[in-house]
């Protein structure tokens, strides 16, 4: 047996090689998932692979101006918080008064500065700055400090994209497109497949050849004529009905091809004995063929579902770009244009769009693979 052949290179390298390939294949998606759960400032300033470590950041701030000084025990004092007025928070680990050495003193220590002044900065950002003589000037003294930002995970990004970036609405739109566009072709194709597999038909060979040919016809061939028809009819243009029919039409060749080869493989005796019992083809189809074809129907349903859910081209050609019609892929494409640098928006949105296919895929992988093996003529 192949498995028992002595391995060369050794098993260790085999495992290592597979591990590396798997890592290369999963890291991009992992990066997306991890980033979508991170704080947006952190996404923009550090790599997602550092998400679990505390990051150190050098920052600077000004203390309050001398106008705010108070007299206490015979010396002047300015106190406040370095984080005041910013939305940054974090732990200050060290501070200094010169840009060359922002980590001269550790947090909580009292720094003795020139002219008898002293400065204490605590880790929470609060500071006390004292001087034996009154402070002069009109701007506050600059302080440099190092903050350590602990790992921070949040679901805020998801809340933002679902409710204010329109992803939630697009999710509903995608479902509206996908569910009918998956169910309708199954029925139509199943009847056609049975006719092509078991019924006496004059041009059967020719019809099958045409369907096999249509399997690989690029979608691009259909777009312009269909767009013209749709615009002329009006009721199909930019409507859900229009896109359901379009997806049905585009999905049919693969559906008929897949189902026909499965139905043709069902045992002949079963159908013949039903015929002897006086059942006509309609009864045979409903009572025998349909229940027995469940695996093939499921395979196709998964395919069509993934293909419609993931489709961008058909959706942007046949549906409008309004809030009530933009599907997830279209919305994500629009966000790529308008929110190009906002990775917290993009990663969370992308994850929402891919989560449904991933769940379908993982729960029904068996049927999916079976469909792939049966119908690997189609190009997706």
């Amino acid at each position: 047996m192949w498995q028992r052949i002595r391995l060369e290179p050794s098993r260790f390298f085999l495992h290592l090689a597979v591990l590396l390939i798997v890592a290369a294949w999963t890291l991009p998606t992992a990066g997306l998932l991890v980033s979508s759960l991170r704080d947006k400032d952190l996404i923009a300033t550090s790599g997602w692979w550092t998400a679990l470590t505390t990051t150190e950041r050098s920052e600077q701030a000004r203390m309050k101006p001398p106008a705010d000084q108070v007299q206490k025990d015979g010396h002047s004092e300015i106190s406040g918080n370095l984080f005041e007025g910013t939305d940054h928070a974090g732990q200050i680990s060290a501070f200094g008064t010169r840009v060359q050495n922002p980590a001269e003193f550790s947090a909580g220590a009292t720094a003795q500065l020139q002219d008898g002044r002293s400065l204490t900065v605590n880790s929470d950002g609060s500071y006390v700055y004292t001087s034996p003589t009154a402070f002069t000037g009109d701007r506050g003294q600059r302080v440099f400090f190092v903050t350590s930002v602990p790992p921070k995970f949040t679901t805020d990004n998801y809340r933002t994209v679902l409710f204010s970036e329109g992803i939630g609405r697009s999710f509903i739109n995608s479902l509206t497109v996908t569910i009918p566009a998956t169910i309708i072709p199954i029925l139509i194709a199943a009847f056609a497949a049975y006719a092509l597999a078991w019924m006496k038909l004059p041009a059967r060979g020719f019809i099958i050849a045409v369907i096999v040919g249509l399997l690989v016809v690029p979608l691009q061939m259909s777009l312009i004529p269909l767009l013209k028809i749709y615009n002329a009819t009006g009721f199909l243009s930019k409507t859900y009905l229009g896109i359901w029919l379009a997806h049905t039409g585009f999905g049919l060749p693969f559906a008929i091809y897949l189902l026909r080869s499965y139905i043709a493989g069902l045992p002949k005796d079963l159908i013949e004995s039903a015929q002897v019992d006086g059942a006509n083809d309609f009864k045979i189809f409903m009572r025998i063929i349909l229940p027995l074809s469940f695996p093939a129907l499921a395979s196709f349903a998964i395919f069509q579902f993934l293909w419609v859910w993931n489709d961008l081209l058909v959706a942007i050609v046949f549906l409008g770009s309004g809030n009530d019609q933009l599907v997830l892929t279209g919305r994500l494409n629009a966000l790529l244009g308008s929110r190009g640098g906002n990775w917290e928006i993009l990663t969370a949105s992308a994850f929402v769009t891919i989560i449904v296919p991933l769940v379908v895929f993982f729960s029904l992988q068996r049927y999916f693979v079976r469909g792939l093996l049966a119908g690997s003529v189609k190009g997706g």
Partner: protein, 338 residues
């Protein structure tokens, strides 16, 4: 929003009900018009004959109509449109094709499509074969295969976001948040704007499709490899052949048909690739491909259906050999069977 959900649900019921209703009613009508239990035998036999010649068309009808409207007619119409002007009102002969031959964008697209066709199917098939063989021999192979297979469920747009993040660029000195530039910096090189590097950026876009399709190749080729008869391999082992020799000389030749199927399937997909280019670069920095160019011409400046159609025909011509091969293959397989 709730009304939309309601309508979607209602349409599913109406659509599915309509389908079932059509098939049920048309069959019932046929049975009533030509009853098989007619008074005399001659009548009954005649009616049965009529039934069995009409019924297949009732079954096939809806599918044939949809196929004609959505695929057969558009193919013919696109061919005609490609010889007409931008609105389809005037016959212009080969003008659209002549324009295409001179257009720099079109030439770039042809060149890039050629690159894609050369690299992606080959890379996917090769990686698929290697991964199928490697994962077949370790205990966690099926988990590994699932993880490599997973991108197949992700949309091209989703995959583009994932990879845009991988390729993200920050100026030198800033901390990189794209993993590719972080790795490049770690090795001591300077970070690059990967998707804007002319010529090489094509390969960074191809990587996305390879990432998606390798799982497909792995599954199909893995199944084929498992179907290779063991005695042929045992015989080779007895003859003293090494693993590499067994792989290339015994296994690969036996699964050649499957390799061709995988290769052509990915080839067809590559010709249609549109979403990746649209979302990553929209054809900028010399990454244009035919499918995206065609989309451009459908809508750019009010649309030029003649040029768009001409580009679609060029894509179709590239698919044609595969189509013919598939039909031949299917006819041969069917042979004399039902």
């Amino acid at each position: 929003m709730l009304t939309q959900v309601f309508w979607a649900f209602a349409t599913v019921l109406i659509g599915v009900g309509g389908c079932v209703g059509y098939f049920y009613a048309s069959n019932l009508l046929l049975d009533r018009l030509f009853p098989a239990s007619a008074s005399n035998d001659a009548h009954a036999i005649r009616n049965l004959k009529i039934q069995s010649s009409v019924r297949p068309w009732l079954f096939l009808g809806p599918a044939l109509v949809l196929l004609c409207v959505y695929l057969v007619y558009p193919v013919i119409e696109t061919l005609i449109l490609s010889f007409q002007d931008k609105t389809g009102s005037r016959f212009v002969g080969f003008d659209n094709y002549a324009w295409a031959a001179k257009d720099t964008q079109f030439r770039t697209s042809i060149f890039n499509n050629f690159l894609w066709l050369l690299v992606v199917p080959a890379a996917c098939t090769f990686l698929g074969l290697v991964i199928a063989v490697l994962t077949d021999r370790i205990w966690w192979g099926s988990i590994a295969r699932s993880l490599i297979f997973l991108p197949l469920a992700i949309s091209f747009v989703g995959a583009s976001v994932i990879w845009k993040f991988v390729y993200d660029f920050r100026g030198e000195g800033q901390e990189q948040i794209g993993i590719l530039n972080a790795v490049v910096e770690w090795f001591g090189f300077s970070p690059q704007v990967w998707i804007a590097l002319p010529f090489w950026n094509n390969f960074f876009l191809m990587m996305i499709l390879i990432w998606i399709q390798t799982g497909f190749a792995t599954v199909i080729l893995g199944a084929a490899l498992r179907g290779v008869p063991e005695d042929t391999i045992e015989a080779a082992v007895i003859d003293g052949a090494g693993p590499f020799k067994i792989f290339w000389r015994i296994m690969v030749p036996q699964i050649m048909t499957t390799i061709v199927v995988v290769w052509t399937t990915i080839t067809v997909l590559v010709l249609k690739v549109f979403d990746i280019v649209l979302t990553m670069t929209n054809g900028q920095w010399d990454t244009q491909v035919l499918a995206n160019l065609m989309f451009d011409w459908m809508f750019r400046g009010g649309g030029d259906f003649g040029r768009g159609a001409a580009i679609a025909i060029v894509i179709m011509l590239a698919v044609l050999p595969i189509m013919i091969w598939n039909i031949r293959q299917a006819n041969a397989e069917r042979g004399g069977g039902h």
